[in-house]
């Protein structure tokens, strides 16, 4: 089973929900797909880490064969190639690794070489298997690193995915293939606005979803009204509690200090399990 925790607005508590849910379930796998700013490890504190590099192919020009005809640059939709008077410049960070330039080159002067974009780290912390990706700083394209993290999904296990914020392609990349989506929001105009944008994405994907309202008592009832009017289930409300915020700030998942919440998360999991089993 794949449960993805997403939000639209950043900082609503995706990582908090993902990690506390996983800890409450027990034997699970947490996959942090927010590869621009992964945070699950700041709550789970992995020690024994195995890492691998994520690479993507980029063009290499054989200047002996290249006739500077310019077909590669003309083909490239991402402006990653520039053909000058003396040679071809490759702007590797703009390359989407489509392989088109090598296909169109009439001289066979283009081959591809793997270039590192990010890193995947894996660790076992008690019953939790953590996998998190890290996009290297200065690299713009997160999707290949997200795909690499998702490569570690174990179909026989419970996989909890921590998604990046926003509603753009990295979020869709993370959400696709999920069995259920938990959308974490806060009861404020920002939370509501970004939740409704996320719901638009989710509806196009056709994945069942529900909402968790975090810091439930800080704002207004806009989110609740929106959910009621749109038939969206509110799965759980976590009140604002300075203690929860303080525990988070020091990297402590709050179910460890407030064990009564384990049952709440466990119930949340059972409910999701029922919905997913029912829709299969």
């Amino acid at each position: 089973m794949i449960i993805t925790v997403a939000s639209g607005k950043g900082g609503t508590g995706k990582t908090t929900v993902a990690v506390n849910l996983a800890l409450s379930i027990g034997k699970t796998q947490v996959l942090d797909c927010d590869v621009e700013e992964p945070n699950s490890h700041t709550l789970l504190h992995p020690s024994d880490i195995t890492s691998v590099i994520v690479t993507a192919p980029v063009p290499v020009i054989d200047s002996d064969k290249c006739t500077l005809c310019g077909k590669c640059a003309e083909f490239c939709q991402y402006n990653a190639l520039f053909v000058g008077k003396k040679g071809v410049m490759v702007f590797e960070k703009l390359c989407h690794s489509c392989g088109g330039c090598a296909l169109v080159c009439p001289e066979g002067a283009i081959t591809e070489e793997e270039r590192p974009l990010g890193d995947i780290h894996r660790s076992q912390i008690g019953p939790i298997k953590l996998v998190y990706g890290e996009l290297r700083i200065g690299e713009p394209i997160a999707t290949s690193v997200i795909r690499a993290v998702k490569g570690y999904i174990d179909p026989s296990a419970v996989n909890v995915l921590d998604a990046p914020p926003g509603t753009a392609c990295p979020v869709v990349e993370t959400m696709s293939d999920s069995d259920y989506l938990i959308l974490v929001t806060e009861p404020t105009p920002f939370g509501l606005h970004d939740l409704s944008m996320t719901v638009d994405v989710v509806r196009t994907l056709g994945i069942p979803f529900g909402v968790v309202i975090n810091r439930a008592n800080i704002g207004d009832d806009g989110v609740e009204v929106y959910c009621r009017e749109n038939g969206i289930p509110i799965l759980l409300e976590i009140p604002f509690d300075r203690r929860i915020a303080e525990l988070y700030s020091s990297g402590v998942p709050f179910v460890q200090e407030m064990p009564e919440w384990r049952d709440r998360f466990r119930e949340l999991y059972e409910e999701i399990r029922r919905i997913v089993d029912g829709s299969r």
């Binding site: 639209g8 700041t42 296909l103 700083i137 713009p140 753009a168 638009d200 700030s249």
Partner: protein, 294 residues
């Protein structure tokens, strides 16, 4: 004179970027605003822009198969690296518009067509002209859209002789943020004293360093964890990074947002408002310094 761009960014989401940039927008005298968080824009909620002009954003092309010509040979599917070509259809969400399928199709059944992936708005607000955008949910190319927003904001600044473009950025360090910080003068990083806030701030600081942007740091909710706040202060001191200010945890921040108002208009006499006024004055001072350096 070309306007100097100042962006409010954070790495980690939800640290208070929009609350702070909207307060700066209210305080600043002559600015143009740009909301570059194009896939979850929120600045308009506080600034109530009156839209004057809407432009379609064509972020990329997308492949379309003519089913009448497709022979189902499967070559496009074999060559597509984005798992988008499934003849006789193309998955428009997965398609990155590279054009490989069109090139390899022996039946010439595939065409690349312009793909609208968002809108750019030129608006008027009480705080000054504002450029904002909305990415159609699920679309890519947010970096390109950010660049469009910045371009239009700079054009307006030139027309109005506004010396500053104030940018509300997005979380993360990927394409949107890179497009936001390329060529700007100052990056104001809003962080919080949590382990994740510190982790994400360090990554975004490295990004600013790569792009040679002057960083300034605001520690929001500093009293939530004094020890971590000290850690951030020491870290910044060691790296020679200026702390623009520290904001204590205060419900007024959320209250003003719920009232759909910027903090200084909601609470003009609140100490936080005065603090934000001082911070903005300092940003303007540093901007003048940075301009003479260049």
């Amino acid at each position: 004179m070309v306007a100097g761009e100042v962006a409010v960014i954070s790495g980690k989401g939800g640290t208070g970027k929009t609350t702070i940039s909207s307060a700066f927008a209210y305080i600043a005298k002559s600015i143009v605003l740009a909301d570059c968080d194009v896939d979850a824009p929120d600045l308009h909620i506080l600034l109530h822009p009156e839209i004057e002009q809407t432009t379609d954003f064509i972020g990329s092309k997308v492949a379309v198969i003519d089913e009448n010509l497709c022979t189902m040979c499967g070559i496009c599917e074999a060559k597509c690296r984005f798992n988008a070509a499934h003849p006789p259809r193309i998955d428009p969400i997965a398609c990155e518009g590279c054009g490989v399928c069109e090139f390899v199709c022996p039946a010439r059944a595939i065409e690349m067509v312009d793909h609208k992936s968002g809108h750019v708005f030129r608006s008027r607000t009480f705080a000054g002209p504002m450029v904002h955008a909305k990415l159609i949910p699920g679309e890519g190319n947010s970096g390109k859209l950010v660049t469009e927003v910045r371009k239009l904001a700079s054009t307006i600044a030139k027309e109005n002789e506004a010396p500053i473009v104030l940018i509300d950025g997005s979380p993360g360090i990927g394409c949107s943020v890179i497009a936001t910080v390329t060529g700007i003068r100052i990056g104001v990083i809003v962080t919080e004293p949590t382990l994740s806030g510190i982790h994400d701030m360090e990554r975004v600081l490295k990004l600013l360093d790569q792009f040679r942007v002057r960083p300034m740091v605001i520690i929001n909710k500093h009293d939530l964890n004094p020890e971590n706040t000290e850690h951030i202060e020491a870290f910044c001191r060691n790296k020679g990074i200026e702390i623009l200010g520290k904001i204590s945890f205060d419900r007024i921040m959320t209250e003003s947002m719920v009232a759909a108002k910027t903090l200084p208009e909601y609470a003009p006499d609140h100490p936080l408002t005065r603090l934000l006024q001082d911070m903005w004055a300092r940003v303007e001072e540093v901007l003048a310094e940075v301009r003479t350096e260049h």
